[in-house]
């Protein structure tokens, strides 16, 4: 027994080694030379009696599953019921999620931000008001959304210098070519952070007020923890300060053309949220998958609003800087709370319900079909 097992293993060993070698050269193997190899090999060992192992004789013990009605029908039923259960859960969860979505692009003449769409206006601010009839349970997540905005353009996507963003000052002086045409300004000064993604960073800012008896009460917005933990802690690094000054690390470089201020000025209040580690920057740098997307802007987790936004009137001050109308884009504000499944998404629940009921229906149909055939062919399975 042991011997048999051993030779069995050895033949497999050979097999896997061959494959391994092959795997390494997987691109490199010709389409026909192997066959010739065997010939040479075979002629050499032709006189040997072949190994009498289960593997060489293709007699390895095998499990031969056959999908018989006895397995499939209950299987379908179980899967179907499970899916229905999950689907109901998902759907109900999705229904409990509150979403408030507002387009503030200002396309319509009567919309609050219309005047900001004029190109002449600088530092435009507009105010969007909304009212909540019921408590918007917290924690509330505050997203901005863009549509018809292609963060997934190929050239756009590669247009960043990863080494710059890890704080490698060597690359501050000579940004990688992929950043072109956003690598140098017109005076040929290197741009840090270079590239199209950084350059196009979303720069509308928002302030949220609850209007209580005509007075505006500022809703504190929490900008921490809106980007991926790994992005903030590992992937992106700030350059180390030169002579104690963070800004001097950027000496000899210029800010991206579209930025109002340099990277080291993104958040002067909090050194941990400054430079490349600015949360808004990190969120922006994670490219969206689709041309219509939303990105997390802030969370409302503090003070009176930790439990959510109470019913009432709210006013949102928008510092309108980001132009989207040139490419027919739209900007949106989204307030949403999340569940264990993330944001509101009815699709998943519906999909589970549909597939689940499909499974159940099919198991019934199969049952009928098989009942008609009286399981006659079950035994040959």
């Amino acid at each position: 027994m042991f011997v048999a097992l051993h030779s069995d293993l050895s033949s497999f060993g050979f097999f896997s080694i061959v494959y391994f070698i092959y795997e390494i050269e997987v691109h490199t193997v010709s389409l026909s030379f192997l066959s010739e190899d065997i010939r040479m090999k075979n002629e050499g060992e032709a006189s040997e009696q072949p190994d009498n192992t289960a593997f060489t004789q293709q007699q390895l013990p095998a499990w031969q599953p056959i999908l018989s009605a006895g397995i499939v029908i209950p299987g379908f039923l179980i899967i179907g019921l499970a899916f229905l259960g999950i689907g109901i859960g998902l759907f109900l969860t999705s229904q409990t999620i509150q979403v408030l979505e507002m387009d503030y692009t200002g396309v319509e003449k009567d919309s609050p931000c219309f005047q900001c769409t004029m190109q002449s206006v600088q530092n435009c601010t507009c105010e969007v008001t909304f009212s909540l009839s019921a408590l918007f349970t917290g924690p509330v997540f505050f997203y901005y959304g863009l549509s018809n905005y292609f963060q997934n353009f190929r050239k756009y996507g590669v247009s960043k210098d990863y080494y710059q963003l890890t704080g490698d000052t060597q690359y501050f002086k000579s940004p990688r070519d992929v950043c072109f045409p956003y690598s140098h300004d017109s005076k040929n000064n290197p741009i840090v952070p270079c590239g199209a993604i950084a350059n196009s960073m979303f720069n509308d800012t928002f302030e949220l007020y609850q209007i209580i008896n005509g007075t505006k009460k500022k809703v504190p917005l929490d900008g921490k923890g809106i980007s991926w933990w790994t992005d903030f802690n590992i992937k992106y690094r700030n350059p180390s300060s030169v002579n104690g000054s963070f800004a001097s690390a950027f000496d000899g470089t210029v800010k991206p053309i579209n930025w109002p201020k340099a990277a080291y000025e993104l958040d002067l209040t909090d050194p941990n949220n400054n430079g490349f580690l600015n949360q808004d920057f990190l969120v922006w740098m994670r490219r969206a998958a689709l041309p219509q997307f939303r990105k997390l802007y802030r969370r409302i987790t503090e003070g009176d609003y930790a439990g959510g936004l109470p019913a009432g009137n709210y006013s949102l001050t928008v510092h309108y800087n980001y132009p989207v109308l040139s490419f027919d884009g739209r900007k949106k504000l989204v307030f949403s709370n999340v569940s264990w499944m993330g944001g509101k998404n009815d699709f998943l629940g519906i999909a589970y319900l549909v597939v689940g009921s499909l499974c159940v229906v099919m198991s019934v149909v199969m049952l009928i079909v098989y009942a008609k055939f009286k399981f006659s062919d079950d035994d040959d399975a």
Partner: protein, 1125 residues
């Protein structure tokens, strides 16, 4: 091909002059015109393909003719020229490596061929030059040289025999390596040539080289001083062929007439061309489809890109401005580069890995053939040999089997089985000891109490001893005293005397030996007197007066001998049909039954008759024969007339049954092949009678089979010319076999269905050549199609008297006929090489006749019986495996690339890859390659035993059933369905990209990773669903690959890779797994993708194709030959 061209070059004047003149020994002839040494090609054999000079261009050209290589070259060039999403190194390096390795390998092989050629060409031969023997390299032999060949040497070129060391001016030759006939053939010197070859002045006029081994026409003019030049006609009996071996003759001298590539052997040798399997053709066809898909995808994307860009603001949004260079580029050029970029982006749809995996599968899979212990033959201590693994799956597609007879179906080992004397059966039962007991007192051998009278018995046995042309091998000429045909020497120790016999036909030997068993031993022929030792150990002597030679038209031979007592006796033996009309009818009835029974059992039967000639009768016969022999005109006809006249009024004394021992399980194998829907054709160089009896023995022809014969004999017609008769017969047979036959229903098993009349078709080489090349060109196609149609409606076809090239012609004709069926040739001798090379699959049997067939075959097996397992089990499985492999590969790449294509609609047609580069590369190499490889090596959807027991299962995969357009369409639709599902499932999920419970959003790489995860799991589980045979290896690789994928993704995303310029996948996978929604979408998409598949499997089950056929057991009507004893 090159060789053909060479042939044409060598024999360039073939068309202009239809004969050549050869000056023996290059001596000018006195009376003719001035001696002009004409140019003939030298004796060099060229089988190599390249020279040093043309190697590089020719080899590269041939390699890039492969569609795949060419495609990858194009992709590489595109990547070099255009700014594409992936780097050119990724496709350039592998391509370069593949090309280089292949070139080196082919160069090496050609080197070997050069070496082999040199070995032949530099072989030293003795040439007579100016009275001296000179050693010369074989390639330097010129036409006209007189060459000396000693015993057991092969002839270096085609020679006309001038002188032999044997007294009677004959020599013996075996042409085993040419036509497979291993018996000794007698060749004759040209009469009246001088003893002193130096003094011989002669010219030979002969036809230009032609491949027919049995045809040669020439004349020799012998000039003697002061005499009229004598003219001697030359025939094939004077011609010694290159490749044949001299036997039993010390040495001979001959003059070279054809050399080098013009020898009959070289003309019969066909180059080994690369064979491609039907699967490969299917792959190429599918490849074209996918290429079209690829191109149309690229075209669609390019077009839409420009349509989309024409909308204002879309082309160049402020956040993604173009460089100046991009702006300046010509629009059409930009379009073109965009197109190419899309091509590169989608080119994974045709992955290199498929070719590599297919190649791997074939390479590793062929080991199972070599390893199979069922193919191991303890006798020769060898198993099967795989010469090319390219054709494994073709073994499962065979429609026509062309088999050689001698050495393949039969062992070429004649054995005397029984005789029938005067209506009483004498069966030689068991052992030899019983034979010894066969004496007058003991009675007949068989246990039947009846027996013929002793006188009759002895007369019969004497007839057997006398009526033949067997020669006794001179003692001492060879150590082993066995004849060359029969290898059963170990069975004869009881005999007092061991002796070897030489004869032109192995059954003559069997008869003489049969007589020996019953106590009559033929001692030999000495100066026209035959000596026989009878039962009482007395020597009887008979004077041999005349031998009335055997010929295939008469189908009998006779001898006229004179006993000591002065009686003149005529003994005649021959086929029943030719003997019965010449004997008394009442005698016939007693024997006919036996003969017919024996014939249907597959024995060769001969009837023996005798006649006592009175002195007057003999005198008439004698003069008749002598006159006829001397006749200059119509000698043959005159001789036959005399023969016919003499061989009348005989009395039948008995019949013999000789068995041409079939190979082990030959009949079962043939039956299994026919049961599997294959048509078996026997192509043999042998005589028709012999071949026919073999066909009966193998159950190819059965009792009820109606034979349609198309041979020279049937074409003999008083009224009509041969060709007219041929046309008549063809039309008649066609009417019978094709028009009147009920339409064959698909899947109807034949052979044992009694309702249909079975037809067997017999044709011989000469007739075939008329069919192939009739006098009027117009008839050619008509004859051919008639012939083919008849053949296709016959259950078995026998082609006898075939030259090697004719065998190949037949194979080719079938191969190129409508539907281009897959052909398989099996043979063991050098005469089968051409058909082995011609057929789609060539199988060599490791027989006794040298290794030529094995060397040129694609697969070699020790015995014919192994063919059954090779085709029914291995072939079937290989086909299913590779077909599934191919379909699966296309499918998995379609659903791999389709989401990437769809993503273009959402990324502004910017060629943004959906998946990370690592995933793109690893998908085919690591994540999904192992399971399909394991599947394609180990899958047994039906177990081997069942496959072997139910030959009909083979029909299920006939006609490339799994690689037709329907299954391809099914797989493609499946791929499209799943691809759409993957992409849009995730797309709808991403309508809100906040998928984590901390509200954070997922980006594009998360999107791609989710799609990719679903993809990897789905395609792997799809394969798991298809796997019917789960060995631990399957478990290991399937679950292993999935685990590996997960592990790899963690690993790849878990580390900041220093060599990467962007860490775009950093923690993407881990983050994805932290999202419940991602899990849920992955699960539902996998299940939903597999749902239709599961449904289909289940719903198809009740009327599953297998359940029905499993029950149908092949009725093996045939009992094993061994059991007869």
């Amino acid at each position: 091909m090159l060789r053909r061209r060479l042939n044409r070059l060598c024999g360039g004047d073939e068309k202009r002059v239809d004969s050549r003149t050869i000056y023996v020994g290059h001596r000018p002839c006195p009376d003719t015109e001035a001696f002009i040494p004409s140019k003939f090609c030298d004796n060099r054999i060229v089988s190599s393909k390249y020279t040093v000079w043309n190697f590089l261009p020719k080899n590269l050209f041939e390699q890039f003719r492969r569609i795949a290589n060419f495609y990858f070259l194009i992709i590489f060039l595109v990547q070099v020229i255009v700014d594409t999403p992936t780097s050119p190194v990724t496709s350039g390096l592998p391509l370069f490596f593949v090309i280089t390795v292949t070139a080196i390998k082919q160069g090496y092989e050609d080197c070997l061929r050069h070496k082999a050629d040199n070995e032949v060409n530099k072989y030293l031969v003795t040439v007579l030059e100016d009275g001296r023997s000179v050693k010369k390299e074989s390639e330097k032999i010129k036409v006209g040289d007189v060459v000396e060949v000693v015993e057991d040497e092969t002839f270096p070129c085609d020679l006309i025999l001038l002188q032999s060391s044997r007294e009677d001016g004959t020599c013996f030759v075996t042409t085993a390596s040419l036509d497979g006939e291993s018996n000794h053939k007698t060749h004759y010197t040209v009469p009246d040539t001088e003893k002193d070859l130096q003094a011989l002045t002669a010219t030979i006029e002969c036809e230009q080289p032609q491949p027919d081994l049995y045809k040669f026409v020439g004349r020799m003019h012998i000039y003697k001083p002061e005499q009229e030049p004598a003219v001697r006609s030359l025939g094939p009996e004077n011609l010694l062929l290159k490749g044949a071996t001299l036997k039993n003759t010390k040495k001979i001298y001959g003059v070279a007439v054809y050399t080098g590539m013009e020898t009959k052997m070289a003309l019969n040798y066909q180059g080994k061309s690369q064979k491609r399997s039907a699967v490969e053709k299917s792959i190429n066809a599918f490849l074209l489809v996918y290429l079209c898909i690829l191109i149309s995808k690229a075209v669609v994307c390019t077009t839409l890109k420009y349509v989309w860009q024409s909308k204002e603001g879309q082309d160049e949004p402020w956040y993604n401005q173009k460089t100046q260079k991009e702006k300046d580029t010509n629009m059409y050029l930009k379009m073109f580069t965009d197109f190419l970029s899309f091509m590169v982006l989608f080119n994974f749809i045709i992955p290199v890995s498929m070719y590599v995996t297919v190649e791997m599968q074939k390479f590793l899979g062929s080991f199972f053939i070599t390893w199979d212990k069922d193919f191991f033959d303890p006798e020769i201590q060898e198993g099967a040999l795989v010469n090319t693994s390219d054709l494994n799956e073709e073994l499962g597609q065979v429609e026509y089997v062309f088999t050689d007879k001698t050495g393949t179906l039969t062992q070429n080992n004649m054995e005397f089985i029984e005789c029938c004397i005067d209506g009483f059966q004498y069966k030689h039962r068991d052992t030899w000891s019983e034979v010894d007991g066969f004496t007058v007192t003991d009675g007949p051998v068989n246990k039947l109490q009846q027996k013929a009278g002793q006188e009759k018995e002895e007369l019969f046995l004497r007839a057997l001893c006398l009526c033949h042309t067997v020669q006794v091998k001179e003692a001492g000429s060879e150590e082993v005293l066995t004849d060359q045909v029969d290898g059963i020497d170990e069975m004869r120790p009881q005999l007092e005397e061991e002796r070897g016999f030489i004869a032109s036909s192995p059954d003559e030997i069997a008869l003489v030996k049969g007589a020996m068993k019953y106590g009559f031993t033929f001692l030999g022929l000495e100066s026209k007197s035959m000596k026989i030792k009878n039962r009482e150990n007395n020597i009887e002597e008979y004077k041999l007066l005349h031998v009335l030679n055997f010929d295939p038209v008469r189908r009998r031979m006779s001898v006229i001998v004179q006993t000591k007592s002065g009686e003149t006796l005529l003994f005649c033996k021959g086929a029943d049909s030719s003997i019965f009309p010449r004997v008394k009818p009442e005698e016939v009835d007693r024997i006919r039954m036996h003969v017919e029974r024996n014939a249907t059992e597959g024995y060769r039967t001969l009837c023996v008759a005798f006649k006592q000639l009175s002195a007057e009768e003999y005198a008439v016969a004698d003069t008749g024969l002598r006159e006829a022999r001397l006749a200059l005109q119509d000698r043959e006809e005159k001789l036959i007339a005399v023969y016919n006249q003499v061989e009348t009024g005989m009395s039948l004394i008995g019949a013999t049954a000789v068995e041409d021992r079939l190979q082990e399980e030959a009949a079962e194998t043939m039956e299994a092949l026919q049961g599997a829907g294959m048509k078996v054709w026997v192509l043999t160089g042998d005589k028709m009678e012999t071949a026919k009896s073999t066909c009966y023995a193998c159950r190819l022809f059965q009792r009820g089979t109606e034979l349609l014969e198309l041979t020279l004999r049937t074409l003999e017609d008083e009224r009509l010319k041969r060709e007219e008769k041929l046309r008549e017969l063809l039309q008649e047979y066609h009417r019978k076999a094709v028009q009147d036959a009920p339409p064959v229903k698909a899947g109807v098993t034949r052979s044992w269905s009694t309702a249909n009349q079975d037809y067997g078709f017999i044709i011989d080489g000469a007739t075939l050549s008329i069919v192939m090349n009739p006098q009027h060109e117009v008839d050619a196609s008509q004859y051919k199609s008639l012939f083919l149609q008849i053949c296709q409606n016959c259950t078995a076809v026998l082609c006898c008297r075939m030259a090697p090239l004719q065998k190949a012609q037949i194979v080719k004709m079938v191969k190129t006929s409508k539907g281009s069926p897959i052909t398989l040739s099996i043979g063991d001798g050098a005469n089968d090489v051409s058909m082995i090379l011609e057929a789609h699959v060539g199988i060599g049997i490791k027989g006794k006749e040298g290794r030529q067939a094995v060397r040129n075959s694609d697969y070699a097996i020790p015995k014919l019986k192994h063919l059954k397992k090779l085709l029914l089990a291995h072939g079937h499985l290989y086909y299913v495996r590779i077909a599934h492999l191919v379909q699966y590969f296309f499918y998995k790449n379609l659903c791999f690339i389709l989401p990437q294509f769809l993503y273009q609609f959402f990324c502004g047609y910017s060629q943004q890859p959906l998946y990370d580069a690592a995933y793109l590369t690893m998908y085919n190499i690591c994540f999904t390659s192992m399971p399909i490889l394991a599947y394609s090596l180990l899958e047994q959807h039906i177990s081997i035993e069942i496959l072997l027991d139910n030959a009909t299962l083979y029909r299920e995969i006939a006609n490339n059933a799994m690689l037709r357009w329907r299954p391809f369409l099914y797989w493609t639709l499946l791929g499209i369905f799943q691809g759409l599902l993957f992409f849009f499932g995730v797309r709808f999920l991403f309508s809100n990209p906040a998928l984590q419970d901390n509200g954070q959003v997922f980006g594009n790489w998360s999107y791609g990773t989710i799609v990719f995860t679903v993809l990897v799991f789905t395609v792997t589980l799809k394969l798991a669903l298809d796997t019917r045979h789960w060995t631990w290896i399957n478990h290991f690789v399937i679950w292993g690959s999935l685990a590996f994928y997960v592990f790899f993704s963690f690993f790849w995303g878990g580390i900041i890779w220093p060599f990467l310029k962007q860490q775009r996948l950093y923690f993407v996978f881990a983050n994805m797994l932290s999202s419940v929604s991602a899990w849920l979408v992955i699960i539902i998409l996998i299940i939903l993708s597999l749902l239709p598949e599961i449904l289909l499997v289940v719903l198809r089950k009740p009327r599953g194709p297998h359940s029905r056929q499993m029950a149908a057991v092949t009725p093996l009507s045939y009992k094993h030959l061994k059991e007869r004893y």
